[in-house]
């Protein structure tokens, strides 16, 4: 072979090698990215027959505010698995710890440093799924909560019992509370929950997280999963997990299951129907479907209250007082009408008419 031909052959080999390397690089560039069509949860769905968590593989949608830096993952990622069979029966304690009270967020979820919220779409039975958020001051409300009565969560019944605080057995329970998310009538964030679940179970945890964020301006990962048995329309309970980001959980860290129960009331979770349970203290309690606000004279109490000492409800920051605790929202607490007026509050435009 001549010297020229040898040089040509070498050049051809170099050119072919370069082309091959280039093609390999392009291939890695295209196929090296994670396929968005395969949710992480689908790869880790190892549920037992007893354990049924809804929406585990459902795609999620995002609401305000949009993430800016870290691409959000599926809210069911983090491989949170809850076996309903492992949860002890409700014994008048609003919650039990799960996984030694250690939250199960994935490494990618723990990278969140920006405001982010996602709510699973309703399933074929109209039930909510996991709600996941990276909470911070930005996600918290700047105004009083709006009306949520237009939403009718799965299994909803408007029913009253005298033995229930505030009378109404069911509340439209925010998965991620309004004080944390500023979400009003978002059907993907509201479930049929007992007053007990709302006030004794979930609210204390929401309070703890809200205080922490207000005082530190840090971020908190927050995931709430309603847990349904089979095709029940009412959740047996909710799993709540939270973890403070900047201090790596030293401020906030919990993993609990809150019971969707109400002491004294037996609930049919398949459809939301209810009745007084046999051993209930409030044996004189009456069940009635709500139609109209009861007149004051129908109250069982015999305590004669002076004029204007009627009980109303207010929130810590609201400018209005409410005649109904439901209208006042989760954060509302009782005050006398006198006290409310002295504080400069005015009647709510909805329940105060």
């Amino acid at each position: 072979m001549s010297r020229r031909a040898k040089k040509r052959k070498n050049l051809l080999i170099v050119a072919l090698s370069f082309t091959a390397v280039l093609l390999i690089c392009i291939g890695v560039g295209i196929y090296g990215e994670k396929s968005p069509s395969v949710p992480e949860s689908a790869l880790s769905s190892e549920y037992t027959t007893e354990q049924i968590i809804t929406q585990t593989t459902a795609a999620v949608t995002e609401t305000k505010p949009q993430p800016t830096t870290v691409k959000p993952t599926n809210p069911t990622a983090g491989k949170s698995k809850l076996n309903l069979g492992s949860i002890p029966k409700f014994k008048n304690s609003p919650y039990v710890e799960v996984n030694g009270n250690v939250p199960q967020f994935s490494a990618s979820e723990k990278k969140h440093r920006t405001a982010y919220e996602s709510y699973s779409p309703l399933d074929s039975l109209g039930r909510c799924g996991t709600a996941f958020a990276c909470l911070c001051r930005e996600t918290m409300p700047t105004e009083e909560r709006g009306a949520i009565g237009s939403v009718r969560p799965s299994g909803w019944h408007t029913v009253r019992y005298d033995c229930v605080d505030g009378k109404y057995l069911y509340n439209r329970c925010h998965l991620i509370g309004y004080q944390l998310s500023a979400e009003n009538a978002n059907e993907r964030n509201l479930i049929t929950g007992t007053r007990y679940l709302n006030v004794e179970g979930m609210l204390p945890f929401e309070n703890m997280v809200a205080d922490y964020i207000r005082e530190t301006s840090n971020h908190v990962l927050y995931k709430v999963t309603p847990v349904y048995s089979g095709k029940n329309l009412v959740a047996s309970g909710v799993q709540m997990q939270a973890w403070s980001v900047e201090d790596k959980g030293s401020g906030i860290s919990f993993n609990v299951y809150c019971y969707n129960s109400q002491p004294g009331v037996k609930i049919n979770y398949s459809n939301g129907e209810s009745a007084l349970s046999g051993g209930a203290q409030g044996t004189t309690a009456k069940k009635s479907t709500y139609k109209k606000k009861p007149a004051v004279k129908s109250k069982v109490t015999k305590v004669v209250k002076p004029k204007n000492s009627r009980t109303v409800y207010r929130t810590p920051s609201g400018k209005r007082y409410h005649y109904s605790s439901t209208c006042g929202g989760k954060n509302s607490y009782e005050v006398s009408l006198d006290e409310a007026k002295k504080s400069g509050l005015t009647p709510c435009m909805k329940c105060g008419k």
Partner: protein, 134 residues
Amino acid sequence: MIAALCLDDNNGMMFNHRRQSRDSRLIANLVDFASGRRILVNDFSAELFAEYRVCVDTDFLKSAGCDDICFVENEDISSCLDRVHTLVIYRWNRKYPSDKRFNLDIVNLGYKLSEVTEFSGTSHDRITREVYIR
């Protein structure tokens, strides 16, 4: 010794080894209350007093003098209660989860309520300060 602590509506103090809540105005209130007296805290509570001069001591309950104020979050004060002549209880007026509670019946232990003050915090609408003296 003066012991100061924060309680929720269920007399809860801690949950999962973490404080239930915090409020910078409460800390400022305690510093005002101290009016020059020494405030002692342990390592856990030190971060709350970053803007103030306090004494950080692991054995703060043992080393506190008669006029010193111990801010107690994750310690049990029942063992040193005989040295506590004044209890300052801050009430959050909210409910939080709790697995560590203050279960002492302070009235039966001879403490008498001498002062109640209310103020708004930075993240709490209403904080109540109760001072009990024995």
